[in-house]
């Protein structure tokens, strides 16, 4: 616990800039994972406990594609689309069977897949840490912002996430497809009676949610070490994000993710041992005071 370190950081603009960017990076990756989680929950009503493993798969797919082709664009496509395809199969073959039954079965199917995917990754890529390194296109001198230095790749990551957040919002709120998806979330029977293939909607939403997780993994691969089991901690943090922002609310996930990202980066200076505690405390307070979350529509109780 060192509040003076935090105070001296706030006194220097360069430190504030550095910490804010690193907070935004954490927040951006967290948002992508949490947005998929919350989207799937909002429409299908299930919590995808394997979401963290999807993030891990995205990172590994991207790593392999990058090693094979040397193109970062291909790596991102491989991570995002590969995981989307996997998510679609996972939903249509396994998850679909347990929608009607209780939470216990959903939990067990996810538990099984977390175990299996962790081992498959170990089998295929080995148990050791992989590091992809920042792609050549971003190997340039860091950009100087208000006295602080920001690596170019960080700016790309933040920008890409902002574009995706905007695109999600436009699709969900402004298009006919978005309307159908929201209708299926609120009343699937009625939507189905109006001639919408809700099964296809469910599969598509699950695939998009998985795509976001895979994309987050692919974007994280250059800046994080890629290892089996890397998905679990981001899963827990995206739970916290979705609870704070409101389950089923994509804009809530954005607010929650940025909040957690900034708490993490500034907290690591001022109170490194209490960062986790503060995240959980924030979640507990939200649950007691406003169980539906900051921007959620559905009550948790």
């Amino acid at each position: 616990m060192d509040p003076s370190a935090l105070a001296s950081c706030f006194a220097s603009l360069s430190c504030v800039v550095t910490q804010t960017t690193s907070g935004l990076i954490i927040g951006a990756l967290l948002f992508l994972v949490a947005a998929g989680l919350t989207l799937i929950f909002g429409v299908l009503g299930v919590v995808n406990f394997t979401h963290g493993s999807f993030y891990m798969l995205g990172a590994y797919f991207a790593y392999s594609a990058y090693v094979a082709s040397g193109s970062f664009a291909l790596a991102i496509a491989a991570g995002a689309l590969g995981v989307a395809a996997f998510g679609l199969v996972f939903e249509r073959v396994f998850m679909r069977r347990v929608y009607g039954s209780d939470v216990l079965m959903q939990l067990l199917v996810c538990y099984a897949f977390i175990l299996i995917l962790d081992d498959v990754v170990k089998m295929v890529w080995g148990p050791e840490f992989k590091s992809m390194g920042v792609p050549d296109a971003f190997r340039m001198p860091p950009v100087s912002v208000a006295g602080g230095v920001v690596p170019a790749f960080y700016l790309f990551l933040i920008g890409a996430t902002a574009v995706i957040a905007l695109a999600l919002w436009v699709v969900l709120v402004k298009t006919r497809l978005g309307k159908v998806v929201r209708a299926a979330a609120i009343n699937p029977q009625m939507t189905s009676a109006l001639g919408v293939n809700t099964g296809a909607i469910y599969g598509a939403v699950f695939a998009v949610g998985s795509l976001l997780a895979g994309l987050a993994g692919a974007l994280a691969a250059p800046v994080r070490s890629v290892a089996p089991g890397m998905g679990f901690s981001i899963l827990i943090e995206s739970f916290i994000v979705t609870v704070i922002g409101g389950m089923g609310s994509v804009s809530g996930a954005l607010v929650g993710a940025l909040l957690i990202g900034l708490v993490r980066s500034f907290g690591s200076i001022g109170f490194p041992l209490f960062v986790e505690g503060i995240m959980f405390l924030a979640m507990a307070v939200i649950l007691v005071v406003k169980p539906s979350g900051l921007l959620g529509r559905e009550a948790a109780r």
């Binding site: 929950f41 406990f49 216990l104 099984a112 175990l115 299996i116 081992d119 986790e276 948790a300 109780r301």
Partner: protein, 337 residues
């Protein structure tokens, strides 16, 4: 689970019910006494130390899985964070023994009290939540406990675990440093804990809990304080889960972060599915099966997760029921717990 009972009446409310309840609790006592007798004699028949070690681990996991079934099977609350109590019990017991030098029974009482407080704090936040929120919040709190264990290195030894051994001072003439007394102690604790949980689940409290599971709204209208019943179940389950962890800590003479990791919770949930949530002894049966399976897998492959995961999928998607459900069906009984 599929075989949820519709037993809404509370035995003990009517004179006839009271008689039936007395008879059934007498039968439970007999079963427990017979089970304990068999377990006590076991080392005289088979003297393999491997068997005794297996049985001690089984004792710990049978208590632990059965305690989780108080929540899942009887309470309809699918906790995915029960490992936090297994870990909390193990660490608090180990630390009490290492740092304070109290006797084993005192450390057990202190450690149960610690688990009760932890369960109370987590429970107050979680029990009011909807099913799925409950699942992932219990998981999240478990990971908080896990990260506290990992980061508080000076107290817990961090990711190396709490090593240095747990002293086993003899008490009441029992020396747990010897393998056989350790086994007898574990077996006795397991039988007593299972009996106590059985008794609680057959009590009016147990039937109120089933009623809350089946129809919380109706229970509310009948004047039952639903949240309070759930919280009580959560605390009871936490205490017994902690006792499972204590036995494990005593056995391995240490405590390790994996005890509080999510895989430990997952194992308990899977034991319940494998054995069957609808019968009291289902989870203990599942514990036997999963421990055997785990030992078997480790012998043949290093990819433990794949084999275990596929087994989980088969049980969850194909069988959809536990072994005790099949046995009961074969015996032609459809009575639910």
């Amino acid at each position: 689970m599929s075989a949820r009972g519709d037993a809404m009446s509370t035995p003990g409310a009517s004179p006839r019910g009271r008689v039936r309840r007395a008879a059934s609790s007498g039968r439970d006592l007999l079963v427990a006494a017979a089970g304990l007798a068999v377990l006590v004699v076991l080392p005289f028949v088979f003297s393999s130390p491997l068997l005794l070690d297996f049985m001690i681990r089984l004792a710990a996991f049978a208590i632990y899985a059965t305690s989780l079934n108080i929540l899942i099977g009887y309470g309809g609350m699918v906790s995915f964070g029960h490992g936090m109590f297994f870990g909390a019990g193990a660490y608090s017991f180990a630390l009490l023994m290492q740092k304070t030098g109290v006797s084993i029974p005192v450390a057990i009482v202190g450690s149960v009290a610690y688990c009760a407080v932890l369960a109370l704090v987590v429970g107050v936040i979680c029990v009011r939540l909807k099913e799925i929120y409950f699942s992932f919040l219990t998981l999240a709190f478990q990971m908080l406990v896990h990260s506290v264990i990992i980061s508080w290195v000076t107290l817990t030894g961090g990711d190396q675990g709490l090593t240095g051994g747990i002293p086993r001072p003899p008490f009441l003439g029992i020396d747990l440093g010897e393998p056989r007394p350790m086994y007898w102690f574990a077996a006795t604790v397991a039988v007593l804990c299972l009996l106590a949980m059985r008794h609680l689940m057959q009590s009016p409290f147990g039937y109120t809990l089933r009623m809350v599971r089946d129809n919380a709204e109706r229970a509310q209208f009948l004047g039952i304080q639903v949240a309070r019943i759930r919280l009580a179940a959560f605390v009871i389950a936490g205490c017994f889960g902690g006792i499972g962890g204590m036995l494990m800590a005593l056995f391995v003479s240490g405590a390790f972060p994996e005890f509080a990791y999510w895989t430990t919770s997952g194992e308990a949930v899977f034991m319940i599915l494998m054995g069957g949530a609808a019968r009291f002894l289902g989870p203990a049966t599942g514990a036997v099966m999963l421990l055997l399976l785990s030992d078997l897998i480790t012998r043949f492959t290093e990819f433990h997760g794949i084999v275990l995961g596929v087994t989980v999928l088969v049980f969850a998607l194909v069988f959809r029921r536990g072994v005790t459900d099949f046995i009961a069906q074969a015996l032609g009984r459809s009575r639910a717990a």
